[in-house]
Assembly symmetry: C2
Homo-oligomer: 341 residues x 2
């Protein structure tokens, strides 16, 4: 399987690291020996080698911060106008989209994926944009071209949520998907239960790398909202935009409110939910008999309410370099299982 | 996809009920239109119709308690010596093994599966026997014959545990699988936390249909132990027998012990675990920061400890007619996804 990576930041490098470190294991356990033939970044260079790039040299270039650092070798090409040029004019079996997400326009990732389909490449994406916005048309285009699209990493990194809803629970009808899909806010809420103020909990989240310097997207609920859009698309075939859903963050929560909930045997959680009627992100007090009430720290969890299976919950890490890389890898292996038949 | 069912008790009838009730939905959502062409029971008759049996008539015969009740129709055959005769001499794409489990010998299910492979049929089984005992050779035989074997329902019914470990977490290395895989005992422990004595909790479990009239297999830990054997095979490729693993039940637990655990902020749980070093079933006190401590009633849950994803937990129903039928259906749909490519 020949892979073309669009984007080579934390997540892209994470995938290459795993492919490098697990090469023998992947070959033995799954008969899976992928090659990375192309890597495109926005402003730090583009590489292609039909014979496969060296994963080790790629990681070196990643650490150096530019693909210009990748040494010359037989068959290496560097002269491409942009990612689209690479996608349109060079072969690969799977395009791995790991460029930065734009949740309002889905660009330029959407264009990358459209061109990938047009040139017969399967798609694995960690980029939330095209799965949140404009996904229906993309899915239709892929179906007509007989191309697979997988996007496990867009919801809870490598913790299987998309595949659980669509595949391992196949046959059940999902009535709702609701859960904790943002680790940063759950970490802050957990630390506030442990006695910290909001500001101190946020600072600690930033020190640990859970929260960005500008934490707005997390604490105002917009990262969770993007995941609601993804759940609406994935589980209910519903297209919506951020403007269509009620979004609440955690910035207004006080230590007093947290304490009052604790005393009532309840826990505040930022719950993202999607149903056939739409979606929302809401800060709610959960009773302790809800499994989601016991999800602590940066952990994520999603509960599927189904017609015949009752509630099924998956719980695990929802972010992180290797965790997201593993979600991409699980998707690649799922395509490998099918195309290698 | 033509299905042949071996066994037509609660689980087999559950599957046929779902196939009947969801026929339109399965066709629309997955392009899946299976036919049941054969059904074999031990002593209540055998049916085969290459054109497909009527699901409605099958359900009627199931309710009547004998396939003799199935009315005559064009192409119907009833004269078979036994299930093996049917498997060896009639076609089907998939054999669904839902006959009663024998956890010591795996018979006669093992023979059914061997003959299914020999005649080129894929396998979906809810029968724990052949996945617990002698599975390695069976898997090898299937691999050589290019036949799929799926067995989701053997572990936690339709709650995806096998597929999570093998497929949706593919790429991660599982270091251990530990969880609550017997709903009856978890229900009893939960009711004892609510103040019931062991005997009263067991009676209530029997009234609700969670526990059998002879509850030995559940309360002595042997059902959980069978699932340990299945986990050892599935996740670590290790063959073992019941004699190889330490098995503990819940019959010795007292209300005093339950109370002491509660006062120490801990909960008694019957934990089944499998690692590359072996497996066990043990009644342990879990601290409340373990997600398994919050699994209540008849619910099951399994935590995978992995190399790069940390802990991933799946939680849901672990038994029941339609829940087990849905596990079989998810397996059938997984085969359908691959063979229909």
């Amino acid at each position: 399987m020949k892979l073309m990576l669009i984007g080579f930041g934390v997540v892209g490098q994470g995938l290459v690291m795993i492919l490098h470190d697990k090469a023998d294991d992947l070959k033995t356990r799954y008969g899976f020996s992928p090659q990375v033939v192309g890597v495109a970044t926005g402003s730090r260079g583009i590489l292609y080698n039909a014979n496969g790039l060296s994963l080790q040299k790629l990681l070196g270039a990643g650490q150096a911060g530019t693909l210009a650092h990748y040494p010359d070798e037989d068959g290496l090409e560097r002269d491409f106008v942009d990612a689209l040029d690479l996608i349109q004019n060079r072969d690969a079996d799977v395009l791995v989209e790991v460029s930065p997400t734009n949740i309002r326009t889905a660009m330029p990732a959407m264009q990358h994926l459209q061109e990938a389909i047009a040139t017969g490449k399967h798609i694995v994406t960690a980029n939330k944009g095209p799965v949140a916005i404009g996904f229906k048309a993309l899915l239709q285009q892929a179906k007509e071209a007989n191309v697979h699209i997988r996007y496990e990493s867009t919801l809870m990194a490598g913790t299987p949520a998309i595949a659980t809803g669509l595949e391992t629970l196949a046959g059940s009808t999902i009535q709702s998907a609701r859960g904790i899909v943002n680790g940063t806010t759950n970490y802050i809420l957990t630390e506030m239960e442990n006695g910290l103020t909001y500001d101190d909990a946020l600072s600690r989240a930033q020190q640990l790398g859970y929260a960005e310097t500008d934490p707005t997207a997390d604490v105002e609920g917009y990262d969770a909202a993007a995941k609601v859009l993804i759940m609406l698309n994935a589980f209910f075939g519903i297209e919506a935009s951020l403007d269509d859903i009620d979004v609440m963050g955690i910035t207004s929560i006080t230590p007093e409110a947290i304490l009052a909930a604790t005393e009532a045997n309840e826990r505040y959680k930022l719950i993202a939910s999607a149903t056939p009627q739409g979606g929302q992100v809401k800060l709610v007090r959960l009773p302790l008999n809800d499994p989601l009430a016991h999800v602590k720290g940066a952990t994520n969890a999603l509960t599927f309410e189904t017609d015949l299976m009752g509630d099924v919950t998956v719980m695990g890490a929802g972010a992180g370099q290797q965790e997201t890389g593993l979600g991409l890898l699980a998707d690649l292996l799922a395509i490998h299982r099918i195309v290698s038949v």
